[in-house]
Symmetry: C2
Subunit: 73 residues, 2 copies
């Protein structure tokens, strides 16, 4: 699966697990809501600075965010 | 530490552990050599598609690349 799509799915999975709406997550991460939507939809080749913002807003860190990541289909 | 710098240092550490030159890694990753140098030097807000290429060329995956990442200073 495309890396952009995998990252988007992982963000969505964690966001839902935390009970956050896309808009709430975007606000916490200080990222534009439409940009966040396109990241979740796998439409963005998101850069690490924004990945860090999103991971932080999800209450995760890089290690926990990517744990098991490569096994997912 | 800045996320760009942390990623660059991690790439450098793994590259050296594999005995690869910056040029060899750039070739394997199919990334321009000067771009690779700037990524290692923490000068690039590198996007996930390129992170994936570099991680693959290092023989790592996302989980192994980011293991212990957040504890490093």
């Amino acid at each position: 699966m495309d890396i952009q799509v995998k990252i988007g799915l992982r963000i969505k999975e964690l966001r839902k697990a935390k009970g956050l709406s896309q808009e709430q997550l975007a606000l916490k991460a200080e990222i534009d809501r439409t940009y966040m939507a396109s990241v979740e939809n796998g439409k963005r080749n998101v850069a690490v600075v924004n990945v860090e913002k999103i991971i932080g807003a999800l209450g995760e860190n890089f290690e926990s965010f990517f744990k098991g990541f490569d096994k997912e289909q």
